[in-house]
Each structure stands twice: as structure tokens, then as C-alpha cells.
């Protein structure tokens, strides 16, 4: 037994010391080179976005706007067009501007094209004082650009997009009237305030946000045609698509949140059966802080009594719940006017 014990102990000691010496810390795993797989959370609205393309072209597998003519691409540009300066197309712009482009030669103020309540260009003044060098949208205002649309300044140099280009006179129009220098006195703060009020009142329908306001202003500054256009080169064949890509929209979850908030404010109705098919569409107009400016309700389905009663109730709840300050401020134009649909049968039971 002694022999076995000594042999065994000796062997264990030898193995353990060998283990302690040789089985030291294994090399730390180097994990730096592994590329992390980026995971994006994609809101549902992104799927429903319209794709940029040409509205009058044939359907193709991939939407593409009308090809541009410029050879050298502008890498920073985001909007397709032949313009020197990149800017988004105006949303409500008509196909062809009501005033011919030659109007650059026509100085009279009275003929100034104002087809919609676009904000006056005054706010640009401030931006114009601090010119930025990049060619992005925000950089559009150039200090030398004339503010009033009547001035003929640099529009002739800017080629127009698409087929219209060919129809235009090749000759550079000569201004018949000496361009008047910009009046700095226009940029009064109270006037600016007025513009903002105008914007707010007009809601999301036209030029609700600063973004659109800027674009509209820059279009005037650039002397572009009222349809706007970008400076990005596009060589693809024109294919069907919306005039404006990346349309913003209230996402499904935000709409659900709005409906849920209003439902929370409702006081239940005890013991009454409500017709399943009763549906109440509410047209709400909201201001920037989420307060209700006005709201209308239109019922469909249900009995006559229900049609008379529930819209009233729901409008009351809508007003009681305000302000809806959880709606994202930077997407105001998407919820300036929202049309949620309520199903009282589900709401009150």
C-alpha cells in the first residue's frame, strides 16, 4: 500500500505542476475583426414610401426619374435634375409653370406667379447672410441671388429639366429692366411672424414645415421653374414613380397611439349593444403643440340613433384628450390633419 500511495502522490504532484506550468491562461480570443451585423428597426411607413421616378413614363422594374443631361455628376446632390443647385421638387407644383419661363425677361411685379400661398422669401435673408459652402439643400441661397421672383438674375444659366428644355429659347434672355437690388428692409421680424402664422394656418396641406418653406423659398431664389428640381445626375431610363420620393406619412404605430389615446379618454357606455358596422371617421386638424384646431366626425353604418349620437361623443373625447403632444414634432406635416377611424363597437366594449 505504501508503494502505491507514494507512486500515486508523486504522479499527481508531477501532473499538477506540469498542468500549472503549461496550462496557463489560454490566448484571449481576438474578436475585433468580426464584423457586427447591423440591425435596423424599420418603421412600417418606410415600406409604404413612394419611390422616386417619372410620373409619365412607363412602368419599369425599377423606378427612375427622367434622365438628366448633365455629364459630370454631382456626388452630393440628392434630387435628380439638371440644376446647378440641389433642391427638392415642390410638392404641389403644377406640371408646367403657369407663367412661361421667359418671364425672366418680364420684369413687372403684377405678373409674378403666385399660384398657391407660398411663403414670402423674406426668411431667407437671414440664411443668406451666412452662406454655407456645401451644395446641399440648405446651402442653396447664394448671397448674390435676388430675392424677389421678378428679378431676372441667374435663371437663364440654369437649364430646365426634361423635354421642356428643348422648347425653351436657346438665346440668353436679356433683361429689359435693370435688376433692382434686394431690399433689406423687407426682412422685418413682424412680417416673418406673419409668414409663420400663415404657414401654420395653412396646415400640412401646402407648405407646413420649415423644410418645405425653405425649399419653396430656395426655388424662388434659384430662379428655378416653379416645379423645382435637383442637381443630381440620373442616367437611368425614366420609369413610373412619384414626383417626390420619401414621402412622409404618419406611421401605423403613431396612428394607433393616437386612437388609443382618444379611446382612453372615452367613458364607457354601459349595457348598450352597438352595431358592429358603425364606423366614425374623424377629421382632426391639429396645431404644432398637438392641440385640436377643429374636428369633424362623419359616421357610416349603424342605426340612425347611433349615427346621431356617437360622432358627438367621439368629438367630445377628441377635445378632452388634447393636446396630443406625443406625436413627433419633426413630422408635423404628417399629422397637421389626421383622419383616424373609430369603431365604437370595439371601443366601448
Amino acid at each position: 500500500m505504501k508503494l502505491g500511495f507514494t507512486l500515486s502522490s508523486a504522479a499527481h504532484v508531477v501532473i499538477l505542476t506540469w498542468g500549472l506550468v503549461s496550462l496557463t491562461s489560454p490566448e484571449a480570443l481576438k474578436v475585433q475583426d468580426v464584423e457586427a451585423l447591423p440591425v435596423d428597426i424599420v418603421p412600417i411607413e418606410e415600406i409604404t414610401k413612394t419611390v422616386k421616378g417619372a410620373e409619365e413614363a412607363e412602368i419599369a422594374e425599377k423606378s427612375a426619374p427622367t434622365p438628366t443631361k448633365r455629364e459630370t455628376p454631382k456626388p452630393e446632390a440628392q434630387n435628380v435634375g439638371d440644376k446647378e443647385i440641389d433642391s427638392k421638387p415642390v410638392e404641389n407644383a403644377e406640371r408646367e409653370s403657369p407663367v412661361p419661363v421667359e418671364k425672366a425677361e418680364a420684369p413687372p411685379k403684377a405678373e409674378a406667379p403666385a399660384p398657391k400661398p407660398e411663403p414670402k422669401p423674406e426668411p431667407v435673408k437671414e440664411e443668406a447672410k451666412t452662406p454655407v459652402e456645401t451644395t446641399e439643400v440648405a446651402a442653396a441661397p447664394q448671397p448674390k441671388a435676388d430675392i424677389t421672383p421678378e428679378t431676372p438674375a441667374d435663371s437663364p444659366e440654369q437649364p430646365l429639366e426634361g423635354e421642356q428644355f428643348a422648347k425653351l429659347p436657346d438665346t440668353v434672355p436679356v433683361p429689359s429692366v435693370k435688376p433692382t437690388p434686394p431690399k433689406p428692409t423687407v426682412a422685418k421680424t413682424n412680417e416673418r411672424k406673419k409668414v409663420e402664422e400663415l404657414i401654420r394656418e395653412s396646415g400640412g396641406q401646402t407648405n407646413g414645415t420649415e423644410k418645405q418653406e425653405d425649399v419653396a423659398v430656395k426655388n424662388k431664389v434659384n430662379k428655378a421653374e416653379s416645379a423645382g428640381g435637383g442637381a443630381k445626375t440620373s442616367t437611368q431610363t425614366a420609369a413610373l414613380g412619384a414626383r417626390r420620393g420619401n414621402a412622409e406619412k404618419l406611421s401605423q404605430s403613431e396612428m394607433d397611439a393616437l386612437i388609443a389615446a382618444i379611446t382612453q379618454c372615452s367613458t364607457g357606455i354601459a349595457g348598450r349593444r352597438i352595431s358592429e358596422d358603425l364606423r366614425i371617421k374623424v377629421i382632426m386638424r391639429l396645431d404644432r403643440n398637438g392641440n385640436v384646431i377643429d374636428a369633424k366626425a362623419g359616421p357610416t353604418g349603424g342605426t340612425a340613433e347611433e349615427r346621431a349620437r356617437f360622432p358627438r361623443d367621439i368629438l367630445r373625447y377628441v377635445k378632452r384628450c388634447a393636446p396630443y403632444d406625443f406625436l413627433p414634432k419633426d413630422k408635423y406635416e404628417t399629422w397637421a390633419e389626421v383622419v383616424p377611424t373609430f369603431y365604437p363597437a370595439q371601443m366601448f366594449q
Binding site: 508503494l3 502505491g4 500511495f5 500515486s8 498542468g19 484571449a28 474578436v31
Partner: protein, 257 residues
Amino acid sequence: MFEAALFGVSRAYAQGIEATELGSTVDVSLWALFMEASLTVKLVMIGLLLASIWSWAIIVDKSLMYGRTKRQLDRFEKVFWSGQSLEELYRSLSERSPNGMGALFVAAMREWKRSFERGANSPIGLQTRIDKVLDVSLARETERLEKRLIFLATVGSAAPFIGLFGTVVGIMTSFQAIAGSKSTNLAVVAPGIAEALLATALGLLAAIPATIFYNKLQTDVAKITMRLEGFADEFSAILSRQIDERTGARSQQRAAE
């Protein structure tokens, strides 16, 4: 401005890498793992180590012993069946206390001689006595052979559980530490788990050779016991024939008188 942002991002990324590298340079050698472990886990590990040492001691001891025993049996059988007279063999063997077959032989022969020296004449009583003596010494031999073998069986079956116990306790404490530090980073969890798993490793290290050698030594013991039993039966038969012959001779003598 954009460049500044990019630079900021890359610097933050670099800092993150540095931080993870610093975190991973914890000492994870065997000794460090052992020293990091809690008291319970340490005790379990030390116990398992001692069990391993002791079971290896038994394995060495028993292997040597069985080899020796087998050689003795071979030698004894050779001598026994060589036609040498039993009296002489007894005389040469009884001086040193022998093992195995020798022990059986000596015990049976002693009983035989005593019975005849004292003049006990009942052949049936003598036969049962010799059988009893053979049985007893056989049991004693088997007991001597199997001694401490049961320790191997115990280690083989219990050591993994003991190691597992150490692991569970270690992981438990390490998870408690995680709950305390509120960090689920793998770098925080890993050393504790590695240290706990060391206990299981030791348990298996002790159990695997113990189980294997227990089975081997057990069959060795069974073989040796079979041979001893066979020898005991044979020797008992030889002695019983001798008794018959002697009693037969005596009765013939009496009949002749």
C-alpha cells in the same frame, strides 16, 4: 463638422475595443482559477484531488498485488501437481505464512494432521471440518484481495456528483455576483463559470480512472477467486479420498485382527 463627428465615432469605437481588451486580460490559469474559487468549491476540489490520489494509490497497489497473486498461484499449482508428497509441501509451506492457494492448503492440512494426531476417527466429522476450514480461509483470502476495492467504486460513482456540486455552487455564487454588479457582460460571467467547471473537471478526472480500474480489478478478483474455489474443491476431494482410504485401511486392519 461631419469629419469631426466621424472622428468622434471612430475614437469612441477605439475606446470600446480598448476597454474590452482590458477586460479580457484576467488571469485564467489553473492556479488563478483555483484561488479565485469560493471556500466550498475549494474544499470540493481538494477533496476530489485527495480522492484521486488515494484511488490511484489503490489502483497501483491492487494491480501489483493481483499480478503477484497470479504468479504465486501458478507456481503453487505447478508444485502441487508435480507429484511431491503433501507432507513435504506442508512442511516447507507452513514455516512462512503463505497467501492464496498456499494458505488454503496449509489450513486444510493443519486441520487434517491435528485430527489424525489426536486420533479422531469419525471420517464424516473430519470431512466437514476440513470443508469449513477451507471455506473460512477462502473467504479470508477473497476479503484480502477485495480490500479497498470498494473505494474505487465509490469514487467512480460519487466523484462526478461531488464535482457537479462544486460547479453548481460556483455558478450560483458567480451569478449572485453578476446580480450584484448588474452587468451581464460575458467577461464578467466567464471566469466564475470557468472556475466552477474546474470542479467538474476534477470530479471526472478522479472518477474515470476509478471506474475503469474498478471494473478491471473486479474481474481480476473474480478470476482469482474462481481459481481458489476450484483448488479448494479439488483439495477437499483429494483429502476426502485420503480419509476414505485411511478409514478403509483401518477397518480392514480391524477385520484382519
